[in-house]
């Protein structure tokens, strides 16, 4: 009994034709038929045999080897895992993790993926949320989905790409847009618009001259090439973002209600298909310690953790996915984001409670020498994971080929255990098991921390420093001076230099965009149905009072949507904060979440999704706590939208101007 030839050691060249849909009539059928269980060796291997095996495997750590070498030292601290977290992994597995498993736990239990510090607070969004009959999918999905008519739903979400955008502004911002677009796509929606909220250090700082043009060109480069109109955003300057700019990107998508997709890898025997770009050593900076620490001491240098985006591939991926949805060819789908295959495999399996068997050798690679943990950790962009019924596989590969997108069957869905406990994720490489874990342990059983909170000591000073005590300009000269100062302030100046680099016309449905307060997109040409969106935040207010600051950001976005004539329906948010290990930051975070949740309850609209970005600081100094809030509203006929400028009428000169509010 041998494994199929294309998974054998000699056949590691992934470019070999026939592996990819684009290369021919496709391959995966054999996988659909299932991999006999007996092919995965399970017995323990001893002495001589083991060492021969190890050379064949390039020293890669297998499940057998892990079981036989319980005391082997592993670089888990370098991967960001604490002693107790590592102990829990050992306990859950009943042995030490393999290298690949360690990489996977370190990724899935990271702050970024597990929300381990924020979870206890974010619960309020659900608990305090008003009941909403519009919500088809909420927090926990790739993006929240809101029903806006009998037939149509919209989905939207904002996400951060702050750190990558500081390292490599163009690519960091570009892949930030690419990532949020795939989230929207994964829900079954066609992406139809983007927005971007940007924060930089001082406008006249030399490094801002590096970061800002790169970020703006990257947001534009990727979004323009995808054909998504940019309908709004923010550009804010403040010293606190000097070493840590904020790049928050939002995407809006539209779907027919019955096209909603989910990520569950349901249906034993269904095929797991990887579609999109080849996998390379992108963004594996973190786990490269696994190779260097254990095997190639001082060998390869730290890999650049920068990913390069290919918007053209993403555009093809979008068209291919939409065609698959419309033909009802996929059972489940998940985008590959920051945590790559690791996240997509474990989340799809955990969502269904099934197991999964994956032949890692089948993953098409850009660099054939990649090791299993690198393949699993790779953050290569423009990839999606599909769950496909075996009889639909051929049609899926054909659709992918039509759009020139590689698609490869890499595994299959396996049953839960007989006693009803969820199945296991079994990953093989060169015929050996390198991962054998219960998927939910990575997704749901990660650590959760109620971190200590402490009100920052300077709050008292802020409270004492009332606006009423500030000197007011009270002479003509002082007024003149104040006005001049304001109109030359970077935060108030015209943002055309930025917004002109974005296409706002593509798709022909942009009803309002820059310089309006909110973007408005028509989503149904027949009825004129449309949605309005605004994205707002204010780090300074939130620094002064996180609870009110978050509420104010919500109120601003809500107002901006309401003034267009739209009814606000739902909220997304991106919470940009410093280190959660700093009690003062954690207090800011807790207060801001409480404020946002209370604000949403008062306004009667739910938070449908969002993103938390911690560890935003320059040196030891955290950025201002910066919740960025997106509000979505619906307008029955976009022809009724209200523009922000005064409208010229026949009675020009007779118009009355009112100031509403206090």
């Amino acid at each position: 009994m041998t494994i199929q030839s294309d998974a054998a050691p000699g056949a590691a060249d992934p470019t070999e034709s026939g592996r990819e849909a684009a290369g021919g009539s496709g391959s995966g059928e054999s996988l659909g038929a299932g991999i006999p269980a007996g092919r995965i060796p399970t017995g323990s291997s001893g002495g001589e045999h083991a060492s021969r095996e190890q050379t064949e495997l390039d020293g890669v750590d297998t499940v057998d080897r892990a079981a036989g070498t319980p005391e082997e030292l592993q670089p888990y601290p370098e991967l960001g895992l604490h002693d107790d977290e590592y102990d829990r992994i050992r306990q859950m597995l009943g042995r030490r993790p393999t290298q690949s498993e360690l990489a996977m736990y370190s990724i899935m239990w990271s702050e970024h993926c597990s929300y381990k510090s924020s979870k206890v607070h974010l619960r309020q969004f659900g608990e305090k949320a008003p009941p909403s009959e519009h919500l088809l999918a909420g927090i926990g999905e790739n993006a929240g989905v809101v029903r806006v008519s009998d037939r149509l739903a919209v989905t939207f979400k904002v996400e951060s790409h702050n750190h990558p955008s500081f390292v490599e502004p163009y690519q960091g911002a570009a892949t930030g847009v690419g990532g949020i677009v795939r989230d929207i796509l994964a829900m079954g929606a066609r992406p139809v618009a983007v927005m971007d909220a940007l924060r930089f250090g001082a406008a006249d700082h030399p490094d801002t001259a590096r970061v800002l043009p790169g970020v703006v060109a990257g947001v534009g480069g990727y979004g323009n090439c995808l054909g998504l109109p940019n309908i709004g955003g923010e550009v804010v300057f403040d010293d606190c973002y000097q070493g840590n700019p904020l790049v928050n990107a939002l995407c809006l998508g539209v779907l027919p209600v019955d096209r909603l997709q989910n990520k569950a890898a349901a249906g034993v025997g269904n095929v797991v298909v990887l579609m999109g770009a080849k996998t390379g050593r992108d963004g594996i900076g973190g786990v490269s310690v696994l190779a260097s620490a254990t095997f190639e001491e001082g060998g390869e240098g730290r890999r650049p953790s920068v990913q390069v985006g290919d918007p053209f591939m993403e555009k093809l991926l979008i068209e291919a996915c939409l065609e698959l949805y419309d033909a009802q060819l996929v059972v489940g789908i998940q985008d590959l984001g920051g945590a790559g295959l690791t996240c997509a495999l474990t989340e799809t399996a955990a969502a269904a409670g099934t197991g999964m068997r994956v032949v890692l050798d089948r993953v098409p690679l850009r660099e054939p020498s990649m090791l299993p943990h690198e393949i699993l950790a790779s953050e290569s962009q423009e990839r999606m994971l599909l769950i496909v019924a075996p009889e639909k596989l051929e049609a899926v590969l054909k659709t992918a080929a039509k759009w020139g997108v590689p698609a490869t069957a890499i595994g299959e869905v396996t049953p839960a255990a007989e006693d009803g406990t969820p199945g296991r994720l079994l990953i093989t490489w060169r015929d050996r098991a390198v991962v054998d874990v219960p998927p939910a342990t990575l997704v749901d059983d990660g650590p959760v921390y109620a971190r200590p909170l402490r009100e920052p000591a300077d709050r008292i000073l802020f409270d004492a420093d009332r606006a009423e005590t500030l000197p007011r300009p009270n002479t003509p000269e002082a007024l003149r001076e104040t006005v001049l100062r304001m109109i030359t302030a970077p935060n108030l100046c015209d943002k055309t230099w930025v917004t002109e680099q974005y296409d706002r016309y593509v798709l022909g449905n942009t009803v309002l965009a820059q310089p309006e307060d909110a973007g408005v997109i028509r989503i149904d040409e027949q009825s004129g149905l449309g949605v309005a969106l605004s994205l707002d935040g204010n780090g300074r207010y939130t620094r002064l009072d996180p609870y009110s600051g978050a509420k104010l950001a919500l109120a601003e976005a809500y107002r901006n949507v309401a003034v267009t004539g739209a009814r606000p329906l739902a909220v997304t948010n991106c919470l940009n904060f410093g280190s959660p290990e700093d009690p003062a930051v954690m207090w800011q975070f807790a207060e801001a979440v409480r404020g946002l949740a209370d604000g949403c309850a008062e306004l009667g609209i739910p938070v449908t999704g969002g993103n938390v970005s911690f560890y935003n600081s320059t040196g030891a100094a955290a950025i201002h706590p910066t919740p960025v809030v997106g509000v979505l509203g619906v307008i029955d006929d976009v022809a009724d939208r209200v523009r922000m400028g005064f409208v010229r009428t026949e009675h020009l000169g007779d118009e009355l101007i009112f100031l509403l509010g206090e």
Partner: protein
């Protein structure tokens, strides 16, 4: 029977839906054409839409030019089939040598999207006969590589033979030579334009309705009005 206007979709085309909508608003039937299918399905005219075909990698339009559909389009255009290339479509027409010159990186090196005033320099083409001579129109421009260049002799010839179809008025948005925004072939059936008429066909979504003129022109042309 309404005129049938084919709109080609290349991998990476973005404004194909908009071009089809514009054709429909003008009263034509829009027929989708696929880059890999050399058959033009009997259309009366073809639009090569805007976008980033093949990611605009290498040079804009360089790879799309070799698509199977383009071989047919090139032959048919030489026989008189009206073809309008918008933005990326203009770039493809230049790469395919159906139009002289080339489109290069904007002088200021940025992608730029703004509402732009143009002057229609000739109404003597299949795509501009519905305008009046020297009409000033407002349509969006949006490109990163829209700077038209050609050698001086070609530019002189284009001017002399009335092949300059439209010029930028006011600030030149990309550094195009002689403010050229659109050119035609000698016969006037093939026109390339950098700005986007298909984005100025509806009150709600465009800065004006001026773009419609290109699509009503082709209908007039096909109905037998002299080109």
């Amino acid at each position: 029977m309404s005129a049938r206007i084919g709109v080609v979709t290349f991998p990476g085309s973005l404004d194909d839906g908009d071009a089809a909508r514009a054709a429909r608003i003008a009263g034509a039937e829009a027929v989708p054409l696929w880059h890999a299918d050399p058959d033009l399905h009997g259309v009366d005219a073809v639009v090569l839409p805007g976008g980033f075909s093949y990611g605009d990698y290498l040079r804009c339009g360089a790879i799309a030019r070799f698509a199977p559909v383009m071989r047919t389009v090139v032959d048919a255009a030489r026989e008189g089939l009206p073809v309008l290339g918008i933005c990326n479509g203009f770039q493809i027409l230049c790469e395919a040598h159906l139009l002289p010159g080339a489109l290069t990186r904007n002088g200021h090196l940025h992608f730029r999207n703004r509402d732009q005033v143009l002057r229609v320099e000739t109404t003597d083409t299949a795509w501009t006969n519905a305008f009046h001579p020297r009409q000033e129109i407002l349509i969006p421009v949006k490109n990163g590589e829209g700077r038209y260049v050609a050698d001086e002799r070609t530019l002189d010839e284009l001017a002399a033979q009335g092949q300059i179809v439209a010029r930028y008025l006011g600030e030149n948005p990309n550094g195009s030579q002689r403010d050229i925004a659109a050119v035609a072939n000698e016969a006037g059936n093939v026109v390339g334009i950098m700005p986007h008429p298909e984005h100025a066909v509806e009150e709600l979504t465009g800065p004006s309705l001026d773009g419609l003129g290109f699509f009503t022109s082709i209908l007039k042309h096909l109905a037998g009005a002299p080109a």
